[in-house]
Assembly symmetry: C2
Homo-oligomer: 452 residues x 2
């Protein structure tokens, strides 16, 4: 749906709400894809959303909830009665139900878990044991599994039995008598195999799975690397315990990329783009601004210490911005390439030495270019060759140092299993500013001593 269609539907809905034409509203909403309804909801006021949401039957309403962004989802859920909530949770797949229940206040969550279907409730409780960002935390319990002793016909029978429960089906998983995952069977293979054949004879034995404890980013990288539309999840004994499907994998990829991009810009990971409360947005941004603020107060203290030098060579002040900018940009380039490479798995720990060496070589080259340029500019502009040397040397040292710091800190963090993305953004830049100015003014002071 493009922006014009969207605008038309939103206007249409607003008109129908104004004239309170519920039957027409319902027809319009039901003829729209739940993902589009979710999209439309982000353009309405809270009252309009609540009014429309109440018109949706439980199966559609639960689809819309699943498609909504976190901000609008919470916004709708917090206004619902408990019986309506139970109705919705009952309609959801186990993973989505778990996400919703986990976000509810404990008291309400308990009530919901008591009122929904017993098996569903047990499943949600089981899934809630896992860390939200682990494979176990994002897997669902809806899948089709058969024993390796069974036949193709048995597998088809099993699919029929679970047809309603398992909406998106791509593979049937095959286990042995201990529950261990031993193979997968694509639906295509099922369709093309004779019914009496044993599953063990037609299944794919090289099955790739992930352990329930691994991080969701790792799951996405596995799915991408091996081109899996659904990733089976196993426990410590290699027993099949769940599966993660395409739609959740792409959501993880999107979230993890947004997280890295936001961290790089000095925004905590959980800024909601639709959040309109100034204080809530400020809470995720201000801390990083204050990190930069504190760092630059240190820079001010450093400059204060060089007051004498500054007074003697006032033109030194003119180049404070370029010293900061060149160090900052060179550092960010190096740290970003490393952080992103580590996140996508393109750089492994075995590549460390090579990548670090590469960043140093590049910074030596780029530093030389910028140093030469500043030397020429200052030479022509102020006719001061000596100060040109001071400035060129400073820029060169600072760019190489910033690149080295920018590249090595994320690699170091990764080695100690800390998310390297925290190394980008304000931290490194601010530290580079202080060090850079110190080097610059130390060299300028030496130069003063030398010429006097």
């Amino acid at each position: 749906m493009d922006q014009e269609d969207l605008k038309e539907i939103v206007d249409n809905l607003r008109f129908l709400i104004a004239v309170n034409d519920k039957p027409k509203l319902k027809t319009l909403l039901l003829s729209t894809h739940p993902a589009d309804v979710a999209d439309i909801f982000t353009h309405l006021t809270e009252d309009e959303r609540d009014f429309l949401f109440a018109l949706l039957p439980p199966d559609v309403a639960s689809d819309v909830i699943v498609e909504l962004d976190d901000f609008h989802r919470e916004n709708i859920l917090e206004d619902l009665q408990e019986d309506r909530l139970s109705e919705l949770v009952d309609e959801m797949d186990s993973d989505d139900a778990t996400d919703v229940v986990a976000d509810l206040p404990e008291e309400i969550a308990d009530k919901i878990l008591q009122s929904i279907d017993k098996q569903d409730s047990a499943e949600v409780k089981e899934l809630m044991r896992h860390d939200e960002e682990s494979a176990g935390g994002i897997m669902a319990l809806e899948y089709v599994v058969v024993n390796q002793e069974s036949t193709v016909d048995d597998a088809i029978q099993e699919i029929r039995k679970k047809a309603e429960e398992v909406e998106d089906l791509y593979y049937v998983y095959v286990i042995d008598n201990d529950g261990k995952l031993v193979g997968t069977l694509s639906l295509k293979a099922l369709i093309l195999s004779a019914g009496k054949k044993k599953v063990a004879d037609v299944m794919e034995r090289d099955v790739i799975s992930v352990h329930e404890g691994i991080d969701q980013e790792e799951v996405a990288n596995v799915a991408r690397k091996y081109d899996l539309v659904a990733v089976p999840v196993v426990d410590a004994h290699d027993r099949l315990v769940g599966r993660i499907t395409f739609d959740d994998i792409v959501d993880v990829m999107e979230d993890e990329a947004s997280e890295d991009i936001h961290r790089l810009a000095g925004i905590s990971i959980d800024e909601e783009i639709h959040e309109q409360s100034v204080f809530k947005v400020s809470r995720v941004r201000l801390p990083w601004l204050l990190v930069a603020f504190g760092g630059e107060i240190i820079s001010a203290l450093i400059l204060n210490n060089f007051e004498h030098t500054l007074k003697q060579i006032i033109i030194a002040a003119f180049f404070i911005p370029i010293i900061m900018a060149m160090g900052g940009n060179a550092g960010i380039q190096s740290s970003t390439v490393i952080v992103r490479g580590l996140a996508t798995g393109e750089i492994g720990l075995l590549h460390i030495k090579r990548q670090l060496f590469r960043e140093i070589r590049v910074s030596l080259f780029n530093g030389s270019v910028c140093a030469t340029l500043i030397f020429l500019i200052v030479g022509f502009w102020f006719k001061d060759i000596n100060f040109g040397v001071v400035l060129a040397l400073s820029i060169f040292i600072i760019m190489v140092m910033a690149s080295f710091v920018g590249a090595s800190i994320p690699l170091l963090l990764k080695k100690f299993n800390i998310d390297p993305a925290i190394a980008t953004g304000p931290f490194i830049t601010t530290a580079n500013d202080s060090f850079g100015l110190m080097i610059y003014f130390a060299l300028a002071t030496l130069y003063l001593l030398y010429i006097s």
Copy 2:
């Protein structure tokens, strides 16, 4: 495969290469997943890679090529003989074959296209007509399609016929007599339906497709929004012309996110993480460093104009870094949130006013906090209330201005259909530095006039 397994295999391979044990090398490579072989190749020298690659039979070799990153792929392909190249391209799906052929020098590409299977060659030529980053440019021609008049048994027959050609099959597409896409049929529905039923009676009629001309980022957003493992592609007359599968969709998502992250850091879009040539890396980074360099030379000129003010209030120089950092960080925060929201489709053009207003409110709040802090610090430190006011006012104005510029430029670019990501990174930051310093020193000069 974790890093330790990887290291063991790499060491193992190196040993076997040293003793030239080709049979064992071949066995080891063939028992390893092609995606893992591709991974292993990034840890070897060029000679080792070429040696091992020559041992692979065409079907495995072509899988490895498809899984490799661009840098290593080109590195291997450029050393291959034409007949080996033809053999590999012949094994590939149409989309992968097109990618490989499109990267070859024209003369060699022509020879390859003449030597491979006639139909394959026609398909590659057809696909090469499309823009590389459009839906048409990433789609493949391997899919199963049936007429709506046919039966479920016919559809299964068609799957059997195309079983080898279409490896990953999730949906059968249904067309009418004009070739128009009118429905999809999941394999699950096929398995569960009686053979004599008409396809038109069991298919899903609400089919979501993309036009061949739309941008690949849009394709990924559609797949993610509607949870599609394969997206059908249609031409201007709604006729089915191709399909884009899961593996290509996640690759697009990954590439687009990397592109945005890199642009944010001032790196042109096509930096290859495995590229080891200093000049090639420098070519994508140096231009942005020079943008910053040029911008900060302008800052130096501005400061030069305020030399008198600087001499009178030397402490004004101490706060140049904080002025730059606060403007820079506030601007980057705003522009990053907007650029990322536009890229994922979370912000649409209908949200513009609301999001812009949100950024301004947040910056007014954060600006007030930082302004108050600097006022207190300068007041206590230098006991200079008046200069504290100048500094506080400057920081406030600059943070609000930087946020406004950072938020509005990407929105403006989007409105004119230019990629908003070019607005992040060095451009905005450098411009904010110059404006910020101008405002700061203009206020400081006014203050000088006022106290004298």
